[in-house]
Structure formats: C-alpha cells, structure tokens
C-alpha cells in the first residue's frame, strides 16, 4: 500500500531503477528528485517485514509534507515513469520523502533551516523501525552521493548562490549524517568533506575547524547564502599562537602588565632598563626613596624644633641623582639624643667612625643603617660647623673624608663628652640648616653626637 497521492507516485517513479540521471539535470527547481531516486535505487532493498509498519507511518504523514514536495517536482513528474514496484519500495519511500523534503528545503534557500530540517530528517530516519534499512539506505545514500558530489563540483559552477550552496549542503548533510547512523557525527565528517568538497568549499576550511556536521553544513549554506546562523566554529588563531582560552587570557594579562610597566618607566627616573626584573627593582627603590624623602621632610618642617628621631636610612646605593637628592634630605638626620644618656667615650666613637667610614666607601645605605643602629646621624658639614662654632668652642672636626659634591661626608666630633646642651643646639641649628638642604646638594654630612 502506498499513499495514493501524486507525490507518492512520483516518488515511486523515482525509485524505479533507471539510468543515472546526469547531474546537469539537478536544478533547483527540478531534477533533484529524480536524482534522488537514482541514488536511492541501488541501495534500497525492499524488506517486506517493514512494509506494514511503514505503510502505517506513511499514511499518517501530514499532508503538508507532501505539499512541500509537490511544487518543485511538478515539472519533472510528467517525465518520470511510474514506479514498477511500489509495494516493495514503500519502506523506502519514507526515507526518500524525507530526503527529498530536506532537499526541497535546501533548494528553496532555507539556509538557516537546514540544520533543523536535516536534524529532523536524521532523527526521523533513526526513529524508524527500519533503522538498519535507514542506515543502510543512508549508507547507500552516501556513496553515490559522494560520487555525485565530486561531479557536482563541476556542476556547481553554473548554479548560483542559494541553489548550489543548499544542494551542496544537502549532499554534505546526507553524506555526513547517515554515515554513522548512530548520531556519531563529528569525527569523520571533515575527512569526508574534504574529498567531496574539492574546490567548492575552500572558504569553509572544514578540515581546520572542528564543528559538528550540522554546523558545517549550515555554515556552508550560510557562507553561500550569506546568513551567519549561530557560528560555532572555533576562532582561527593567529600564526604561531594558541587558541586555548587559557593561553589567550595569559597573553592578555602579559600585555596589560607590559603596558603598566611602560607607564611606570616614564615616572621613575633612570628607567632605561629593558627587562622586567630590573625595572621592578628600580621602581621599588624609587618608592623607597620617595617615602624616605617624605619622612625626612616631615622632620625638617617643624617650624623651629627639629625632630630628633633617627630615620631609617634605607637608601638605595645607586645613581648619582638619587644619592644627591638624598644627601640634601638625608643631611637632616639627627641623633635621638637625650640629655639623660651619658655621653659615650672616645673609644667607641673612634671605632664607630672608622666603621662608618669603611661602610661609606662601599655602600651608602649600609652606612646610614649602621649609624642608625648606633643612634647617630648624618648632617651637613656646614651645619655641623655652624653648630660647633656657635656653641662649642673646643670642637674640632677630626676626620674629613674626601668628599664629592654628591656624597655626604662622615665627620666625627672629636670633642669627647660634651654638655647635653650640645644635643639641643645641634638640633636647633640643624633645623636652621635644614631649610637650605632642600634643593641643593650638600657636600658634606657629619656625624654628631654630644
């Protein structure tokens, strides 16, 4: 039994084994149906056991599905011979109908609907109890399809956008979907596509991307049809770079860090270093230096009473520029002396002085720190002399290391124990001297202690 409609008759006629229809007949409005029939024929061995069920299914097919098939096939219908063995082919009518329906969708330019239609088709095929038939049919469908597709590349040229794309996509879909028969689509698809695609779908680059079959066919339809429907293709990577999202994020992060480093380079003086590590070192030292300057300046601005707290002299041991400005600021370091503390004896002072002198030779920072630990400080020589002349007549500077304009000097006070008032005076005059420190590079500093 077969549904007695003209479409079915047409299908039956298609199913009759006739000579293979040349591909030139495959026009958007036409002979694909006949072509289909030829494709189907060699493979579809009738299996009578499935006929009844299939008949039932076919009888319940909605008429709209037929109507879709109706129009494009009207012209060729008249050309086709009536099917010879409709009963035997009933089971395969369904497949064919679905396939043809899909093709009609394709031909009509439904680029976006292709995937859905094809998926539906495949599912319907799979759902059929005649699954082995469907699979076999599908498999059988594939091979001649491939052959046709190869020829189709030449065929393609005369045809235009929607038509060729859709037909091609149809072929692709059919080639891919039924291939596996069990919804196993993606892995083998690209390979199959490679062969039939030939020159036609170069733009698709199916081999490179790993989309699913449906997506690829959809994409093929879309590229030719011009409709970008849900592109799931991977992003094409630039040459030599990974597409892994992690590495992309990494790359972005590194670029951002490089940007920031460049911005920092402009802020920090002496920033001609090229590698990140040394640049970071520069930055760190500069921040330390600035913080130290703030401390020093805050000490010096007490409007008359100097702060006596020892400062952390963690100075960077580098560049003339840095040391120079620090000498200006660092010269105001004062000893945290109080009157209660008994004055140190000369011996320790001498030792200290030697020690500091040694340290000064090698590293300013360590020298300052050493002084810090001892509760001593550096101050400009001019200031020290001012203090000494103002207060302590017996004061004579003992040591005066050779100084350059860029280095604070070490000068010891060889007075020995002096009155506690000395500390105060030192403090006060130091304050007076501090104002002159800023902006001018002091030549000398001295160690003073009562």
């Amino acid at each position: 039994m077969q549904p007695c409609s003209r479409e079915m008759q047409a299908m039956n006629s298609l199913l009759s084994p006739t000579q293979p229809i040349p591909l030139q007949d495959l026009q958007p409005n036409g002979n694909s149906g006949t072509h289909q029939a030829q494709i189907h024929n060699p493979q579809f061995d009738p299996t009578s056991s499935h006929d009844d069920f299939l008949d039932q299914m076919l009888s319940t097919l909605p008429s709209c599905s037929w109507s879709d098939l109706k129009s494009p096939w009207d012209p060729p219908k008249s050309d086709e011979t009536p099917p010879s063995n409709p009963d035997n082919n009933a089971g395969f009518h369904y497949d064919e109908i679905l396939a043809s329906k899909l093709r009609q969708h394709q031909i009509n330019g439904g680029g976006g609907g292709t995937t859905a239609a094809m998926k539906m088709m495949m599912q319907q095929q799979m759902l059929l109890p005649g699954r082995p038939i469907a699979a076999a049919g599908g498999g059988g469908l594939t091979m001649p399809l491939h052959n046709d597709i190869v020829d189709g590349s030449s065929f393609k040229s005369p045809n235009q956008q929607g038509g060729e794309g859709s037909v091609q996509a149809l072929y692709n879909g059919f080639g891919a979907g039924p291939l596996h028969g069990t919804n196993n689509q993606s892995p083998n698809q690209p390979q199959h596509f490679h062969h039939p695609q030939g020159g036609n779908m170069q733009t698709q680059s199916f081999g490179a991307t790993a989309g699913t079959v449906m997506n690829q066919s959809q994409a093929s339809g879309s590229t030719t049809g011009g409709t970008p429907a849900q592109p799931k293709q991977r992003v094409r990577a630039r040459r030599g770079q990974a597409t892994d999202p992690h590495s992309i994020a990494e790359r972005l992060r590194r670029e951002r860090i490089a940007e920031r480093m460049k911005a920092l380079q402009e802020l920090v003086p002496n920033a001609n270093k090229t590698d990140k590590a040394s640049m970071l070192d520069e930055i760190i030292d500069y921040v330390k230096f600035l913080q130290l300057q703030v401390k020093v300046l805050s000490m010096s601005r007490l409007g008359g009473a100097a702060a006596v707290a020892p400062l952390v002299a963690d100075m960077p041991p580098e560049g003339g520029d840095c040391v120079q400005t620090t000498a200006g600021g660092g010269g105001s370091l004062q000893r945290n002396s109080n009157g209660n503390q008994p004055s140190a004896n000369n011996d320790s002072l001498t030792v200290t002085e030697h020690q500091v002198a040694k340290l000064m030779e090698e590293d300013m920072g360590s020298a300052m720190q050493y002084l810090q630990g001892k509760g001593l400080c550096l101050m400009p020589i001019s200031l020290a002399t001012a203090i000494s002349t103002a207060t302590c007549h017996s004061r004579n500077p003992m040591m005066n290391k050779g100084s350059s304009s860029n280095h604070p000097l070490l000068q010891s006070n060889g007075d020995g124990p002096s009155s506690p008032s000395m500390s105060v005076l030192t403090v006060q005059s130091a304050t007076m001297g501090n104002g002159g420190l800023d902006g001018s590079a002091k030549d000398a500093a001295s160690v003073s202690k009562p």
């Binding site: 951002r256 920031r260 802020l267 707290a309 109080n338 403090v427 104002g435 800023d438």
Partner: protein
Amino acid sequence: MDSQHLNPSSLKSRFTARFLRALIKINAQKPISSSSPREIFQRYRRIKVAADKSMAYSVRSRRTWSRATLWKLRSRSRRRLASSGRRSSIKTRTTTTTTTTTTSTNHRAAIVEKTSHEKENKEDHVGLAVQAEELRELVPGGESMDLCNLLDETAHYIKCLTTQVQVMKKIANLYSLE
C-alpha cells in the same frame, strides 16, 4: 609667598591646602620649645602622618592605596584612643603616644600571610614574585592585588609621592627662610 597652583582642583593644590591646615593645627597645639626628644619625635611623627593623611584625603578613596592608608591611620588612632580611654575627633588629630602600635603591624602581617599564597601562585609563571612581594610591602594596601593592579597602584602612588615631596620641600623652604 603666593600659590603657584594654577589648577585649584589639582592633586597638588588639594594636598597643599590640607597639609598646610594640618601643619597650622599642629603648630598651634604644641609650643615649639619642647626639647624632649620624645616630644620632638612625636611631633615629627605627627607631621608625617598629617602629610600622608592629607595626601590620602586628596585622593579620596579612588585608589586602593589611599583607602588602605586612611584605614590604617584611622584604626591606629582609634586603637590608641581606646587604649588611652579618650575620645576625640579622629579626623585630623593624631595621637599623642609614640609607641608604634604593634596591633596594626600584626594585622597587616596577617593580611600578607593570608594573601601571599594566592599571590605566589599567580606570579609564578611570570617569575617576578620576589619583587612583586617587595612592592606589595611598600605600597599601602598592596597586599591584596595581583601584579597588574599592583603596577597600576604603584604608578599612581609614585605620582602622589612626588607631588607630596615637592610640596613639602617648598614649605620647608618657606620655613627655613624665616
């Protein structure tokens, strides 16, 4: 002396205004004749805090480091006031004690410990973990940032520090010329 600040709303002018006000207050509080080193140290400390606070206030809370600085100062002063049993406005007053509060240091250390683990993981592949750590210690509030943001904060912090130093130098000059 006149103000050379052409832009009244620039960072420099904002900081200068605040800092000068704070200085005036500090100078008004204590007579300058105090010679005890302890008091002098206090004074120094107060000024330094005023400077930092002024700068942080000028930046408002737009930056992580300014927020961290303000928080630090406020919590420190709050703790000191609580310990001394006094209550006063915390806005611009600094405390009177000189002892550095270990609590704030401990708190900061805790933060550093907590976040150091994550930082190490993130920094490993870049190979700059050591310097990043050091930078974090320097920049206030830097303990909880990844390298990218840390560099950003550092740039702004450096800019503000240079402004601060410039202004303070000029003020010191003014003082010294009297």
